[in-house]
């Protein structure tokens, strides 16, 4: 299979008056079409930096990123980026929030509007389309944020701790929800998280980064023995504990 994302020898140095920070050093990995890859690593190891580089928001100081073989030179409509918080604009209705990306890309047409409505309907938010974000629960807001990303029809989803603002129970439900949506819509996904369990429960592969400067320490293939895999059912498989132990050891946390 041809990789959709190729990260090739990527390094990143931030300059500041107090000196130079090497955030990333010689990162190599790739993501295949339809694959779900998680990135875990200690705080400050450059995970967000890596996603920003892949999305074309900032440029690496060395190495290259390729999207379907094309070099990344700036932001691309192929990529949908989900941030830690939903950042729904409270001066816009749910529907208007969903349309934000299309407005920015100047792609508001009859068919994209219909697509937005269809997504809202499919994921149970249609009745809320004229409500304002503060009238919705945290989980619903996160779903709206996902639809806002999906409606621009990206091929690749980048999720930067997209669930960490939710409480634990909601988070499990939203994990399942969003995993389901991503699989149904047939997207490739790259998820950054602090949470080892979350990374295993959703991913086909887990990329482990070392502490700063971030390098790829290990890549784990996740093979779980369960049919109809969902994040929740993944957590109940016997292999789950094993991967958890492995990654935990790999993270090498000292307290």
């Amino acid at each position: 299979m041809k990789p959709v994302v190729e990260v090739h020898n990527v390094g990143m140095k931030y300059q500041s008056l107090n000196g130079e920070i090497t955030a990333l050093d010689n990162i190599n990995f790739s993501v295949n079409d339809g694959e779900f890859v998680s990135i875990v690593g200690p705080s400050g190891c450059g995970k967000s930096t890596l996603l920003s580089i892949i999305s074309g928001l900032i440029f690496s100081t060395s190495g290259t990123v390729f999207l379907s073989g094309e070099k990344v030179m700036g932001t691309s409509p192929k990529i949908g980026y989900m941030l830690q918080k939903d950042h729904l604009f409270n001066w816009r209705t749910i529907y208007q929030n969903v349309m934000l990306g299309l407005e920015i890309r100047k792609n508001v047409t009859r068919s994209t509007k219909e697509h937005a409505i269809k997504l809202l309907r499919t994921y149970g938010l249609y009745e809320f389309k004229d409500k304002y974000p503060n009238q919705l629960s945290g989980g619903m807001r996160q779903r709206v944020a996902l639809i806002r990303t999906l409606v621009t029809d990206p091929q690749i989803l980048l999720l930067d701790e997209a669930f960490s603002a939710l409480d634990f129970q909601t988070r499990l439900v939203v994990n399942d929800d969003i995993y389901d949506i991503i699989k149904k819509e047939n997207k490739t996904a790259l998820l950054v998280t602090h949470d080892i369990s979350e990374s295993i429960s959703m991913a086909d592969r887990v990329v482990l980064l070392s502490k700063r400067p971030g390098t790829v320490k290990n890549i784990y293939e996740i093979n779980l023995n369960c049919d109809n895999r969902t994040p929740l059912s993944s957590r109940e498989t016997p292999e789950f504990r094993y991967y958890f132990q492995e990654i935990w050891k790999g993270l090498d946390v000292h307290v």
């Binding site: 700036g74 932001t75 691309s76 980026y81 941030l83 604009f89 816009r92 407005e103």
Partner: protein
Amino acid sequence: MFNLKKDSISHRAQVSGISPEHKDYLHRVRMEKIFVRVIQLLIFCTALLLWEICANAKIVDPFITSQPSRVLKTMIRLYVDGVLFQHIGITCLEAIVGFVLGTVLGTLIAIMLWWSEFLCKVLEPYLVVLNSLPKIALGPVFIVWIGAGPAAIIVMTLAISLIVTVLEVLNGFLTIDQEKIKLVQTFGGTKFQVLTKVLLPASYPTFINALKINVGLSWVGVIVGEFLVSKAGLGYLIVYGGQVFKLDLVMTSVIILGVAATVMYQGVVYLEKMLVKNKT
């Protein structure tokens, strides 16, 4: 008072079958509101009455304190002479023009400073000095440059409210969550789109605040301006009245001024309420 009113309305909306306790509560709230209003009115009338009686009984000298009946007479005389609304109109017009101009120009300059970080850094010390300088000191300069007329008064008003608006709005821009800006950028948004999709709508409370501050400041500017140059307007009447020792005229003008300024401030408050209703 506004809050009380809103509370009781929303309560009524929520509860369809009103329980006796709730009815009792609503009654109490309404009684309290009436009570407050009555006391307010009482204070007002007592003050007027005392003022009138003291002046009539020569406990205070009406020549320097004036008195309500004389204020009323002065007002009627101004009206009969056909100049009352002329003076009020001129002052209000100057205040409104200065107020709108200050807010709009201040916002535009703030947008420019946000747009170019370089410009912002370069202009920073000038902004600090201009902000600290008592703008009234510039009054004579404006008169020489622009001439003694309404234009100089408007510029005076502008000078007082402009820098405050710039700093207030710019500060509002800079406190907006960077992640919201990043969100727009992830969709490939340009700087102009960041401005229109995030900065301006998110700064809406800042604008309202700036408006509220500017309403007050523009009145200061107009009155100072009129003190310095004018031949008409409420500020002119106050200065003129003071010079010829007609305290009736001074008091009348001050009272009208108070009413006009309040009306304009309440106008902004009303505007805010209208907009908030549509936004949340």
